[in-house]
């Protein structure tokens, strides 16, 4: 059965770079699929990886104020006819293909220069907490069989939040 819950999944590094008035997100993921996960992908299931990013203004006496939330999703699937691994950016629809699963996973585990938010949305002099985590789920290619995954145990995995503070 799918066992992505056993996936080694952790955000090893993350930061933001203000580039031309836009904060861009860089994330490095420690990602290693177990054999069940690999077999599930090769059987035709789709691996979806979502980077969930939250930005909140740190306030001293009040609860932190949410500023922005971004979910960036990718889907990794195996194309049996071409024997290629397809990596699709769900947000943009862009697709790339790789000859090996590891090449696709390496690409999946690294995000560089993902536009996060406009710098003008952050108040100068304020502290902001950025945090990011990765959510890995197995899906069927079509939605019609997704309900079956309801009956499996380990069809998703979630990393711990990786958080850091940034002063504007």
């Amino acid at each position: 059965m799918p066992a992505v819950a056993d996936t080694r999944l952790a955000v090893s590094r993350a930061d933001v770079d203000p580039d031309d008035g836009v904060y861009e997100l860089n994330v490095a993921l420690d990602l290693e699929l177990p054999e069940d996960g690999v077999r599930a992908i090769e059987a035709g299931l789709t691996l979806r990886l979502a980077y969930e990013t939250e930005i909140a203004r740190v306030r001293r006496y009040l609860p932190d104020e949410g500023v922005a939330t971004l979910v960036q999703s990718y889907e990794l699937s195996y194309h049996a006819l071409s024997q290629r691994y397809l990596l699709r950016n769900v947000n943009t629809g862009e697709q790339a293909d790789y000859g090996t699963l590891q090449a696709a996973l390496d690409r999946l585990a690294e995000v560089r220069g993902l536009p996060l938010l406009d710098a003008s949305l952050l108040e100068p002099g304020s502290d902001y907490e950025f945090r990011v985590r990765a959510v890995l789920t197995l899906r069927t290619a079509s939605d019609t069989l997704n309900w079956l995954l309801f009956w499996t145990d380990d069809w998703s995995a979630t990393s711990e939040w990786y958080a850091w503070t940034h002063r504007r």
């Binding site: 035709g44 049996a80 290629r84 000859g99 069927t140 290619a141 939605d143």
Partner: protein, 746 residues
């Protein structure tokens, strides 16, 4: 609409609504098991609804079953039939459901397994290999074309842009890129249909080309369709621009791409389903289990509901029957259906209605009969005539108050007893019962006869008539007998006394008148003739006239006695001290009886109070009794007369008792019962009126008199006079009480 109807409507609406919801949930659940992405998303919710329905059904079923068990243990009417029906319906529903479930699970397992059998997998794999082979042939052709382009470019050298375009068109490529082995693009030739921005050379392509190996791959496109990417090295290591790479992208024909997409989709779906075979089977079996469990529980609940619906009229009927058995004929059963059970309920209601009407008729008839019976009882109670009804076997059925008064109180306890066994043999009741029983036993069912009974010291004359009661059928034995009788003793006595009174009155009138002339004539004759007659004739005349005078006097006394007897009483009621009166009268006789050697003893009751009476009549009463006693003792040595007064009670009333006893010869046995009748006497010179007058005086004072012979010898006359203060006028006006018979004992 009444409350039960509302409740039934609400229940029906709830059942229909719940049933539809449940059906919809099952259908949705079935849809999720098919290929609907929309229902797939709702799958957990739909499953939750079904599970909730399952829980609700289990709860309802448990409640109903618990109620059924309680009814069974409590021996509630219809619970056993209901339980049997529920069991039968439930088993009938369960068996096919279980069979269906068993075979459905088998089919599911085998059916799903059959989808992924080896042949199917092999066929798909073969199809994939075949497709790959076909595409690889095309890819190799494209690679060869790219190698030719690379050779052409290598041969020409310099900037190949013009040649590149020509070569691209000849090869049918979408795009040809010449780049360094680090990926920097030197020149690109693109067709009009391709994107403006040239596709960069992927790293893996560069890596492989740097290793001196050509690159070819089939790449699915995000927008659909396929591209064949080929890349070969260009030039030699001595090229000043470094090692170059020629990358060419070739399109795949739409028809082939579509076939490839179909195959890829089929292969992927097959792979997914094969991979998810176990959860697929588990979910199908779970869906089937939930649906069948719902169906099973619904079937059981339906069995209970149906059984309840079927048993309810029976329960109503049993309750109604019990209510009718207890007499509640107002019971109406609700008509819940128009089938055979409804017909039965309707018949029951019709029956109770008829029974109620019949009972009302019967109650009216019974009430009328009771009224008649009460009237008859009142009439019988008021009758002075005795009425005794007998059963056909001569057992006493009823006796009215007059019968008890006439025959004695012991008749009151004889109801139900045989007529021949009631009363003592010499008692009035015994003699009466025996006389009647003998007549009826002799076959004489309807008769009328005057009986004379000697009950103790009293002689009683009863006029009795017997009438048979009608039997149950014509010609059947009588249903009993009615004895109607009256005590005519007093009436006959009164008739006799009236007759004797008339005789006395006539005697007094017819005889008394000539007695005076006779006496005067005899005395004149003696006075005129005696001095002139010789001694012998004078003596004869003297004796003759003396005899006439004496006889005339005797006749005069007798006529006076008759006159006294016949005379209508004129009461002079006053308080009378009976002891004083007795003393006065007896004192008159003391000297007379002493001369005859007779003792006269007087015993007086000191506590006796005065009574209201006619002193003169009572004085005459005492004279008559004492005269009788003295005359009875005439010539008898040692004669003794006792006069006693006592205080007593009779019928709850205080009475003064007077008893005059002697030790003479007593009454003659053959005259017992007639000593108080006029002209009944054993004395040669008696008129026979003494005791008759005594009885008359006693009756005038509403008293009671008895005459009997003492066991130690002699006669005793006992008199009881009421001690009330009734005046004479009141006594005269008083409604005549049934006269009590005189009691005379030998």
């Amino acid at each position: 609409m009444d409350t039960p109807s509302l409740r039934r409507t609400a229940s029906a609406a709830a059942i229909i609504g719940g049933g539809l919801l449940w059906l919809a949930a099952i259908l949705f659940m079935a849809q999720t098991a098919q290929h609907s992405a929309q229902f797939s998303r709702l799958h957990p919710w739909i499953l939750m609804i079904n599970v909730a329905g399952l829980v609700v059904l289990v709860g309802l079923l448990a409640t109903k079953l618990a109620q059924l068990v309680r009814d069974w243990r409590g021996h509630v009417i219809g619970s056993r039939l209901k339980a049997r029906m529920v069991w039968t319906f439930g088993v009938l529903a369960t068996l096919p459901i279980l069979l269906v479930y068993f075979f459905a699970v088998q089919f599911l397992n085998k059916g799903i397994d059959s989808w992924f059998n080896v042949e199917m997998r092999q066929s798909l794999d073969d199809a994939l290999v075949l497709s790959r082979s076909a595409l690889e042939t095309r890819m190799r052709e494209h690679l060869a074309a790219t190698e030719l382009i690379a050779d052409e470019l290598a041969a020409v050298g310099g900037e190949p842009s013009g040649l590149l375009e020509t070569l691209r068109r000849e090869a049918g490529a979408l795009e040809i890129t010449v780049a360094t082995d680090s990926g920097r693009i030197i020149v690109v030739s693109k067709g009009l249909s391709s994107e403006v921005v040239p596709d960069e050379v992927p790293g893996e392509v560069l890596l492989q080309v740097r290793q001196g190996r050509p690159f070819v791959s089939l790449e699915p496109q995000a927008a659909g369709g396929y591209l064949v990417r080929t890349a070969v090295p260009l030039g030699s290591a001595g090229d000043p621009r470094g090692r170059l790479v020629v990358q060419a992208l070739y399109p795949v024909a739409e028809r082939i791409a579509a076939l490839a997409d179909t195959l890829q989709a089929t292969y992927q779906q097959f792979g997914e389903k094969d991979y998810l075979r176990r959860p697929l089977k588990a979910s199908f079996i779970l869906t089937l289990t939930v649906v069948l469990l719902l169906s099973l529980l619904a079937a059981w609940y339906g069995a209970i509901f149906t059984a309840q619906r079927l048993v309810q009229p029976i329960q109503d009927l049993v309750k109604g029957t019990r209510a009718v058995a207890k007499g509640d004929l107002d019971t109406r059963l609700p008509l819940t259906s128009h089938d055979e059970m409804g017909f039965l309920v309707h018949s029951f209601n019709d029956m109770t209605k008829r029974l109620r009407l019949a009972r009302e008729d019967q109650q009216r008839a019974q009430q009328a009969a009771e009224t008649e019976r009460a009237n008859l009882a009142i009439i019988l109670a008021r009758l002075s005539t005795g009425v005794v009804s007998l059963e056909p076997d001569l057992r006493v059925r009823t006796a009215n108050r007059a019968a008890i008064t006439i025959l004695g109180d012991e008749l009151d306890g004889c109801v139900g007893r045989d007529l021949g066994a009631v009363g003592v043999e010499d008692g009035l009741l015994g003699q009466f019962a025996e006389a009647c029983r003998a007549r009826i036993a002799a076959g004489d069912l309807e008769w009328r006869e005057q009986f004379t009974f000697q009950a103790g010291t009293a002689r009683r004359i009863l006029m009795c008539a017997c009438t048979p009661l009608p039997g149950e059928g014509e010609g059947e034995a009588p249903g009993g007998f009615v004895l109607v009788f009256d005590d005519i003793t007093v009436m006959l006595q009164a008739q006799r006394e009236a007759a004797w009174g008339e005789v006395a009155r006539r005697l007094a009138h017819e005889i008394k008148n000539p007695l005076t002339p006779i006496r005067l004539s005899a005395e004149r004759m003696r006075h005129k003739l005696l001095p002139s007659m010789n001694e012998k004739d004078a003596l004869l005349l003297d004796r003759g006239t003396e005899t006439i005078v004496q006889q005339v006097e005797a006749m005069k006394e007798m006529v006076n006695a008759f006159s006294e007897y016949a005379r209508a009483p004129r009461f002079e009621m006053a308080d009378v001290d009976l002891n004083l009166l007795v003393t006065e009268v007896t004192d008159l006789y003391r000297a007379q009886v002493a001369g005859r050697g007779v003792t006269l003893e007087v015993q007086l009751e000191p506590a006796l109070r005065t009574l209201v009476a006619d002193r003169g009549r009572l004085r005459q009463l005492l004279h008559n009794l004492l005269t009788n006693a003295v005359e009875a003792l005439e010539g008898q040595p040692g004669g003794a007369i006792t006069v006693a007064t006592r205080l007593g009670y009779r019928n709850g009333e205080e009475v003064a008792q007077i008893a005059v006893e002697d030790n003479g010869p007593g009454f003659q046995r053959e005259l017992i019962g007639q000593v108080f009748d006029p002209y009944v006497t054993t004395k040669p010179r008696g008129t026979g009126l003494g005791l008759a007058i005594v009885r008359k005086i006693v009756e005038e004072h509403r008293g009671h008199v008895e005459a009997e012979n003492r066991t130690e010898g002699g006669a005793r006359v006992s008199i009881e006079l009421p001690l009330n203060e009734m005046t004479g006028a009141q006594a005269a006006r008083r409604e005549p009480r049934r006269p009590e018979p005189r009691r005379e004992r030998a």
